[in-house]
């Protein structure tokens, strides 16, 4: 009887240990979640953003009455903050974290005959929800590089059409997006692996859910290209990274 009891206890302890070990390999415990914050700035005078003439579609003109739209190749806020910069971890991510895919889809809207957001970041295999909020038909056409592993497509969305669900298979920074019907519409989809962020109007960003470790952080802007920085994140101590692009 005593040996049987010992055996039962040992077996349950071993099972418990096995379970804990199995589990700890896959989940990153919340207490150890870190982040990387920072700002992106532009040094110098940004290039002049041109006004867009949308007269070919009166619906688009109406949406911008009194407030004409402009190109968005370089968007600088007050204080020199550079918006629409994609921040992602290009090196240092454990494979388990790199292949984690958020369950929330990234939204991409067609509003006022412009893409909102102008630059969207999304993970490989993460869903995108593409909507048309305009009372005119759009035909969204992402153009990945041939041979990248992502296949291009285009789809019409008349007013009231259901959202399009899109998924990208490989990392690509970035995919050009155009509208086949409205030639001035232009945006980007940056497909990355792991945590990411896109800088806001003041140039600031926060990359969430970064496990402790050492990483290479890459910043990509459509006109100025990429810059990298090495960042270390420790438990309870967020990493910081700041980038400065030079206007030509």
């Amino acid at each position: 009887m005593k040996s049987g009891y010992k055996f039962a206890v040992t077996l349950s302890m071993l099972s418990l240990l096995a379970l804990v070990m199995l589990h700890s390999g896959q989940t990153v415990s919340a207490a150890a979640e870190g982040k990387i914050t920072g700002t992106v700035k532009l040094e110098g005078t940004p290039p002049h953003q041109r006004p867009i003439d949308m007269s070919k579609d009166p619906v688009c003109v109406k949406a911008h009455e009194g407030n004409p739209a402009h190109t968005e190749t370089v968007v600088v806020g007050s204080g020199g903050g550079l918006a629409n910069v994609v921040i992602y971890l290009s090196e240092g991510l454990p494979p388990a974290v790199a292949s984690q895919v958020p369950s929330q889809p990234v939204t991409y809207d067609q509003k006022g005959c412009m893409y909102t957001p102008h630059v969207a970041a999304v993970d490989v295999d993460q869903h995108m929800k593409i909507t048309n909020s305009d009372p005119t038909t759009h035909n969204i056409h992402p153009l990945p590089q041939p041979g990248s592993g992502n296949i291009g497509w285009n789809k019409s969305q008349p007013p009231g059409a259901p959202p399009i669900d899109a998924v990208w298979k490989t990392q690509e920074v970035s995919i050009n997006v155009k509208c086949n019907i409205h030639p001035w519409m232009h945006g980007y989809m940056a497909v990355v692996k792991g945590p990411y962020a896109v800088s806001d109007d003041s140039g600031s960003f926060t990359v969430e859910n970064v496990p402790p470790g050492s990483y290479t952080v890459t910043a990509w802007q459509e006109t100025y290209g990429t810059q990298t920085q090495k960042v270390t994140v420790a438990a309870g101590k967020p990493g910081t990274a700041s980038f400065t692009f030079k206007a030509k």
Binding site: D53, S55, N139, N176, W184
Partner: protein
């Protein structure tokens, strides 16, 4: 039954001619110097074809009325000279009709296609691409800078692929999404297709010309009335063809100069 058919036939023919004769549907206003010639040609065609149409239908009605329900032993008349003469006569009749229309219309056609643009006409380039029209004015130097198709970038509004940093002639070129012209000034429209076939059609100007990729085609016209008119693509060019249009703005000379100056600042 056959007599009923004969009567119905003639009634339908007359009923369809009535709105044409009464001018129930009027053509759009004519704002062009050659528009009157085109409208006259249209009217001549209507009259010629209309008279022939009514004559043919009424004749058909008479034949059906007169010769239906005959006894099987009745004699059948023949067209004098037989079938060959009948066909020959039809060919000559219709042929003369078409020839007449061609002769009447030669002035309208020659005006547009056999007359070159006058030396003091204003050149404007138009590029048709899926699915919009863009226009380019040469600017004060009067020259169009070279086009580099590899530099075309719609995201930065470089629709023509210009390189003003390296081509001095491109520096003052003005690219617009609307065709602004001064009234009563001859415009020489230089047409360029970026990708596939399109067509330039302004109904009030009475002009209609296809863009063909690889061909440098041109049109000339003079707009005589201030206003805003639609330029529509009238050659099926893809899924956005239904939405492919631009606007022609005919303005007084001072308004046009103000407009062009404003557009130049938006480059």
């Amino acid at each position: 039954m056959a007599k009923l058919l004969a009567v119905t036939l003639v009634l339908i023919a007359i009923a369809s001619a009535v709105p044409i004769i009464r001018h129930t549907w009027v053509p759009p206003q004519d704002i062009s110097t050659h528009g009157a010639l085109i409208d006259e040609q249209m009217a001549d065609t209507m009259v010629e074809a209309g008279v022939s149409f009514l004559a043919a239908q009424i004749l058909l009605g008479i034949f059906i009325w007169k010769f239906s329900g005959r006894k099987p032993t009745a004699t059948i008349g023949n067209f004098p000279g037989g079938a060959t003469t009948l066909v020959g006569a039809a060919v000559i009749l219709v042929g003369l009709e078409v020839l007449a229309l061609g002769v009447f219309g030669q002035k309208a056609w020659a005006n547009l296609y056999f007359t070159p643009a006058s030396p003091n006409s204003m050149p404007v380039q138009v590029q048709a691409g899926q699915f919009a029209f863009y226009f380019r004015y040469p600017g004060p130097d009067g020259k169009f800078g070279p086009i580099h198709p590899d530099l075309i970038n719609e995201g930065t509004q470089n629709f023509f692929g210009l390189d003003p940093d390296h081509d001095p002639d491109s520096k003052d070129d003005v690219v617009t999404a609307e065709l602004g012209v001064p009234e009563n000034r001859e415009i020489h429209l230089l047409m360029r297709a970026k990708d596939v076939n399109h067509s330039f059609f302004v109904r009030e100007l009475r002009i209609h010309q296809d863009f063909v990729p690889g061909l440098d085609l041109s049109l000339h016209f003079t707009a005589t009335k201030v206003g805003k008119y639609e330029i529509v693509c009238s050659q099926l060019c893809g899924l956005g063809h239904y939405n492919m249009k631009a606007y022609l703005e005919v303005m007084s000379q001072p308004d046009y100069e103000k407009w062009l100056k404003q557009k130049a600042t938006e480059q």
